[in-house]
């Protein structure tokens, strides 16, 4: 992502007051949403944080975003053949409780908006797993007018799993990779999102024109 991070030339997104032009919410709705910016939550140090990271890695609760075709691969993962529960992985129906966000394949502009919203509603530390080539570079939809090419320009991605579609084994491999990362203390993408909040917002707002939500969805 670093290559585009300072590339601010394409459209103007901020006004003179530093406020997003595409703020989206009408004035009468502003009182209904909290729009505090996300903050960096520094991890603890030493063995305590290692312990907590171990716990985090061994208890991954999935929020599956299933509008792409990859979502079909999540189901076998739960069933007896692959049984993700034995790895401490469980599905969870609400972003509030989930820690792992799996994007099941291509993401159109319309779904991107929902992805951003759900991601922001998850509580940190949180991890994202991009499933399938479409999340990597657009996959077979790489030249579509409506499908994003690189997921990591909109939300931070911890692990990509390439393939069209990747099989459940690949998904498990990705999850194991993620566990390793978390245990190593590298699962700090939530903080990265907060640090580079403006850049992410700019990218998001560039494609999501109909921005009827607050700048950060608590």
């Amino acid at each position: 992502m670093s290559d585009n991070m300072n590339d601010m030339d394409q459209i103007q997104l901020f006004n003179d007051q530093g406020r997003l032009l595409n703020a989206g919410l009408p004035d009468e709705e502003k009182a209904l949403f909290c729009d505090a910016a996300p903050q960096v939550d520094a991890p603890y140090r030493g063995i305590w944080e290692k312990f907590l990271n171990w716990a985090r890695s061994e208890s991954l609760w999935i929020l599956g975003f299933g509008t792409g075709c990859g979502a079909i691969e999540l189901r076998p993962l739960m069933t007896s053949r692959y049984d993700m529960y034995q790895y401490g992985v469980q599905p969870r129906p609400t972003p509030r409780q989930a820690g792992l966000f799996i994007i099941g394949g291509y993401a159109s502009v319309k779904t991107m908006k929902r992805i951003v919203r759900s991601y922001e509603q998850m509580q940190g530390p949180k991890f994202v797993l991009g499933l399938g080539s479409c999340t990597v570079n657009g996959g077979m939809y790489w030249d579509s007018y409506n499908t994003i090419n690189r997921l990591d320009h909109y939300i931070p991605v911890d692990v990509y799993i390439a393939g069209c579609m990747p099989r459940p084994e690949a998904l498990l491999a990705g999850i194991n990779e993620l566990k390793k990362l978390i245990k190593e203390g590298k699962g700090e993408n939530a903080n990265k999102y907060a640090e580079n909040f403006e850049w992410y917002k700019r990218n998001q707002k560039k494609i999501i024109k109909d921005w009827n939500m607050p700048d950060y969805n608590w």
């Binding site: 009468e28 709705e29 009182a31 209904l32 949403f33 909290c34 505090a36 903050q39 939550d41 975003f65 609400t94 972003p95 509030r96 929902r114 992805i115 919203r117 759900s118 509603q121 009827n212 939500m213 969805n217 608590w218």
Partner: protein
Amino acid sequence: MVTPIVIIAAALAMAFLLPVLEKAGKGLIKTLSLLVLAGFFAASLSWVAQILQTGAIISQTAGFKAPVSINLSVSMMEATGLAVIYLVALLSGAFQIFVKKAVWQGKELSLYFALILGLSGLVMTRDLFNLFVFMEITSISLYGLLVSGRDERRFEGGFKYMIAGGLSSAFYLIGVAFLYRETGQLNLDIIVAQSGQANLYLPLLLLTIGILIELKPFPANGWALDVYESADPGTGAVISAMNTTALILVFMKLMPLLQAFGSGIVYAALIIAGLTFFLANLAGIRQTSGRRMLGYSSLAQTGLILFVLLSPSAGLSEERGLSIIASMLRLDTIEVIALALLINHALAKSALFWLTEFLKKDALHKSSEEGDYRGNRGWLIPAGMAVLALTALPPFPGFWAKWAVITSFGAAGNIGGIAVILIGSLLEVYYLFRWFIRTQAHGEDGGDVIAPQVPEDFAPEAAPAPAGLTIKPAWQIFAPALSIIILTSLGLAWAFLSLSGGQELLLLPLAALALYALFDLIALPFAVKNILAMAGLGGYAYLIYGELNNMTLIFGAVFIAGSLVQLFLLFNKRDKRSGLLPFLVMMILSLGNLLVFKSSLGFFFSWEMMTVSSFFLVIRGRQASRASLRYIMFSLAGAFMIMYALADGFRGPLTGLVFAIGLLIKMGAIGFHIWLPGAYAEAEDEVSTFLSSVLSKAGLFILFITAGIYGQTFFPGAGNAFLASIDINAILGWIGVITALAGAMMALFQEDIKYTLAYSSMGQIGYMILAFSIQSHLGWVTALYLAVTHLLFKGLLFMAIAGVIMRTGTRLMYQMGGLIKKMPISFISVLLAIIALSGVPPLTGFGGKWLLYSSLMEKGWYLHAGLAMFSSGVAFLYLFRLIHTIFLGQPKTGMFENIKEAPIWGLIPQAIFMMVIMGFSMFPSLLIKPLQAAVEMVYPAAAEGVAWQGSTVLSSLGYWNGSAVMYVTMGVFLIPLAWLMIVNGRIQKVKQFNIVFAAERPYKPETTHYAYNFFSHYQKALGFLVEVRAERFWTMIRKSTDALGGLVRRIYSGNAQTYAFHIIIFVILFHLLAGGTF
């Protein structure tokens, strides 16, 4: 001092002179007429004074003794009757002259004096033929008066009147002729003196029929209705008050004759009178024309007076006031009763007739918008008082007279008589109150119980529009006002005489009513009035404190202290709210008086005062017309049952049962509950709390003390094997538990918060009935415990909700939401209340549950206990719904943006109640020990009762330590809280739409707030339990009564020939009843 003959002469002179004098000036004749009428009244009063000293005044017209000349005799009965007639005559005349300027000129006044002449003669003369002459004079002058307007219907009415009058005269005259042939006498006194040698059946029959027709008996009274309807109100008053009074006096004159010679005729007249009373009332409920309805009421009242006069057992009452008055006036008790009923009827009915003058339209239909006379106090106060007087509610003379009659009947075992009077009265109550309520209804009244109609908007109440009333200037109301004032003073005098034997305290509610009404009148600021009310209550509490025992002290605390605290709530609003405090204080004092009465009459008087005052509190609600009608109907039905039981002295086998049913009605037990939700919910928000938390305990209290007073005879069952074989307490128990369940179930499906709370009250009362019926030490402690705690949490709920409704302007729960952030203190008080109400430990409600189940288990009522647990679960449902839909969930952004916390004055009483609840929760012994002491009066042995071991209360089955529960709960609450605060990371406070919404966002709070039809699945599963059965049953009763009334009414076709035919039928009927043959 004038001799009676002067009256006749003066009236005659006026009748002749007025047309002549009219030339001299209209002002002159009006003044002169009024002066003369005033003189008549003064003369009649002076006769009363004189008779008290010297006895009856007998005036011999030609200076000879009877039978040579005609005697005019005025005894006490006649004098007082004439005083009434002249009073109404004076007021009526003044009314016609001053208020209805265009109507009466010299001609009419002349006729009027002729009429008065006739009536005076009727009352005074002792000569039968002379009586006929006066009857003719009366008829003709009245006919003249009737047709003096331009209204075509009047000619018709007058014509019918002439036919009826002619027939009656014919009968009378023939009767007189026969009588003369048999006895050779026309003088009444002499005929009576000659003890019966001759067969006087036929002459007396004809004579009686002649007079009775004039008195409009059933069925020969159709003509009278047309007269009433078509006559202008002044004339209506004249017929109803003056004519009837005079003719009843005539009938009383004949009574000795009838009793001496024809018991068959007396019997027939009695039957006819009873029928008239009952059927006229039945037909009355179908009337939409106000005056015609009043006409039916007049017929009924006439029937009632005759019925009382003719009943052999009437007048046996030993009521204190009655005997004092009788000895004072040197009259028989029966005469005093008749006189009281006469005065009551004459003054109240004439007042009502005059008052109809001011209504724009006579007819009042269900959805009539002309009915909105709300706020026209000048009209409503006299009308309301007149209706109260007519329906024999305290303090009017009718109440005392009716009490005397019923107790006499009771003493003589005349249950049929009691039934006729009470059922007929109930019908009369129905239509009179319905009429009164409709005159002040607020357009369409909602308040459907099961499916509440949603009021469209909740705009603040507009100032009452002066719709349809034409009282301007205010003095126009003088005639009804005066007659009501006189009537009230007479009633008060009687009340004082009756209650002076140590029960003067019971009059305090009336004094309070007057006092606070005066405060309203001089427009004191509401806050001052309220402070005075509190002071008054405080003083009252001090006054009665010495008379209370353990049991009454508890209810005293509920009634007086509970109300006193809740009075703070009234400081909430700044507007005047005239009429609120007078009735409220009156109600509370009446409740207090229930604690200290010393006689059946004292009890019943206070009970009725309580009913009346609470009725006026209910009717103040914006849409309370239907609810208030139901309320007064059920209340009075219950009261009448109680009256029957009291009159019967709990001797009859069923009396106890009837009494209990009367109380159950008042408590809103299942089956009789349909008045309850409307009354509690539709009353003003600040008033509902008093009704629900305080008033609802009245029935329970009476249950307690009667069970104490009457002991085993309360439910005697003696002499009736079937009744003895069933345990009435078992029935009561089932009624209680089913009431509890039904109340909870119905509360579940309400959208209107106040209906929820009202049904909830019903359920809670059910528990109290259940606990009472256990009839053990523990059971009674439970019932009392429930009563006290119900006061606390239901008061808390109603007060908090009053604040919420005040701020949001809606009663519909689903329209609210998220108010916890705006009204946190109200939230806390509702929270405490619902925890307490649902019986969740550690708050005080659990004590109630624990006691209840312990006592039920002790008694062996396991099924009751199971059902009670089930209903307490259901209660949990509606309570959660209540707090959730109002305080949690999504606040409605548009509507309630700038809502503030409820006013401080609403919060103060809530805080007090909360503190009391917390205190009782921490230290249950504070509450339970006094209750034990109270119960020990009846159940002294505490062997199976409640025992104490430190702060642990023990029953024979279990134990409960309120303090320990409180400490443990605090511990297990505070430690996790501390833990949570330690481990929590950074917590962001968010706004209402920051919820996960399936990756979408909410757009409207209305569609995001799950509140409407909250328990739809429950309705699917168990909704069949709460179908509107009771309501349907009572509606069916009402409709069939209505239909019956319609059937009766249909015989009055409005056709003169039919009416003549009725008269013939009447004659035949009367003859047959009297035992005659053809």
